[in-house]
């Protein structure tokens, strides 16, 4: 379910980055003064390991165990959300699984949507039957999270599949995979409940936060739709336009007098590209030279 770099349009990526920072910031604010527990560390490690088994699905991204609901149930929504965000960050920065520009969207799906749905579903149903509650929390959490991922990539024009493909593909794959996710969630929760029940004690979370979060989550696809319909065009081309540079200026600047007939724009591009690479090479060697000076100093 990790969205790599290159799948999302930058405006959608930016929108989810903002939403994510809002919620994550609020979670961190709620956790102020608390120490991160060893359960936090071990759970992060376990979820990390479990997420490594992933495989590609055409028309979507990838399918794998997520563990967000489990984190929500065991750590509470705020620490759970932080733990998942941390796992996703490590995956981005160590394994390069999940893109840097897609970080906001990935955290939104797996660390916010999945964790909060998992937590609240479990809280609502656990009085009735703990194992069933954990199972449904795990299943629903991953399925909804996958649907969100489907919406994000489906709305993006960089990813040529439309919503009609991405949402069903991501949704059905993960609804199926969710059965395993639910089973594991239920298994771990019941095991912990019998051996170290005190780890499952959780503080109440205020109603206001719940309503606010639920509203944010529910509205985020609408925001995304609006952001996309404002119009998406390639930012690099925009920048060039603003600077008034769209007419292959380098070629003309470099070779003003070469109006040799037959030297078509392709060759021009090739030449300016090569010149660029040469300058990059020169600068890179300068960096290396500066390094050897620093070492000697």
């Amino acid at each position: 379910m990790h969205i790599p770099d290159g799948y999302l349009d930058l405006n959608i990526a930016g929108l989810f980055l903002v939403l994510t920072l809002l919620v994550l910031g609020y979670s961190i604010y709620r956790l102020r003064g608390e120490k991160l527990t060893s359960l936090f560390g071990v759970l992060s490690a376990a979820i990390f390991a479990a997420q490594m088994l992933n495989w590609p699905i055409p028309g979507g991204t990838s399918a794998h165990f997520v563990g967000g609901a489990l984190a929500g149930i065991l750590l509470g929504p705020y620490a759970g959300c932080l733990a998942m965000a941390i796992v996703l960050t490590i995956q981005t920065l160590v394994f390069n699984d999940g893109g840097i520009t897609a970080w906001g969207a990935n955290v939104w799906n797996m660390a916010i949507v999945d964790v909060f749905i998992g937590y609240y579903v479990y809280r609502a149903l656990s009085g009735f039957n703990r194992n069933l509650a954990a199972f449904i929390a795990g299943w629903l959490g991953i399925t909804v999270a996958a649907i969100f991922a489907g919406i994000e990539i489906g709305l993006s024009s960089s990813f040529a599949y439309g919503l009609a493909v991405t949402v069903p593909v991501m949704g059905t794959w993960h609804a199926a995979l969710g059965i395993i996710e639910g089973t594991i969630t239920a298994g771990v929760v019941s095991y912990i409940a019998t051996r170290r029940a005190e780890l499952l004690e959780k503080k109440e979370v205020g109603k206001a936060s719940f309503v606010l979060l639920a509203a944010l989550i529910a509205l985020s696809p609408v925001f995304a739709y609006l952001a996309e319909s404002v119009g998406y065009s390639e930012p690099l081309e925009n920048a060039a336009k603003i600077l008034g540079l769209e007419e292959n200026p380098i070629y003309e600047g470099l070779l003003p007098d070469y109006s040799i007939p037959g030297l078509d724009p392709y060759a021009g591009t090739l030449i300016s590209g090569a010149v660029g690479v040469l300058i990059v090479l020169a600068l890179a060697y300068a960096v290396r030279y500066a390094r050897s000076n620093r070492k000697n100093a």
């Binding site: 799948y7 490690a45 160590v94 930012p235 890179a284 390094r291």
Partner: protein
Amino acid sequence: MHVVIERTLKNASSYFQNFFLQDYPTKGTLHSIDPRVKLLSTLLFVILAVSTFEPKKLIFLLFSLIAISAILGLNLRRLFSRVWLFSLFSFVVVLPLLLQDPKYPFLFTLRVLIALVSVQMLIMSSSFAEICSALRSLKVPEVFVQGLWLAYRYIIVVFQDIINILLARESRRVSKGSHMDLWKRGGESVGLFFLRSIERAERVQLAMASRGDKIFGIRSKFGILEIIYIALSLFIVLWCIVL
């Protein structure tokens, strides 16, 4: 059956553990650049890559990044070994679109590939501690960085523990056992391992408490080296715009 599962688990754990710990002793030029600078320029390169579908810009970017990696001391073989799988992965995902637009799957994969290379330039040249301390000095909240550091260390420890336990099981496995056993005992073993890890982590936490758990800042080393690297990054941005 469970012999196969255990063996797979053992191989996977060793693989991940090695992944986490490699690259420590080698030091190229890229390694000595301030990680904050690398982090920001990586971000820049990724944004460049994902904001265009123009072949000439993408190819220019790819060439530049590979040239920089090679000149500044990254092992290109290893770089390739770390990016090909995810690139292929993306190619598979968009392959069905080949019929509609034959260029699209290739350009799409190229964007993904360039982004992967940029991120690897950061990862392969910085230890995780350096990245954490860079994040910290870029004003990422302390809990978050602390959590990153904590989780990272536990991941290493948990993988090592898996390897050890599997060897211990092997040393006392005197009969093959049945499939039923796998289902009956498998779940319990996982749960027990989880519990054991938590309690072990509680002891490790005592150790951290006894030695302090402050994130130390790696001293910034902002100098001519960093300035030239920034100039290099900015030049690439400029050229991508005008190309």
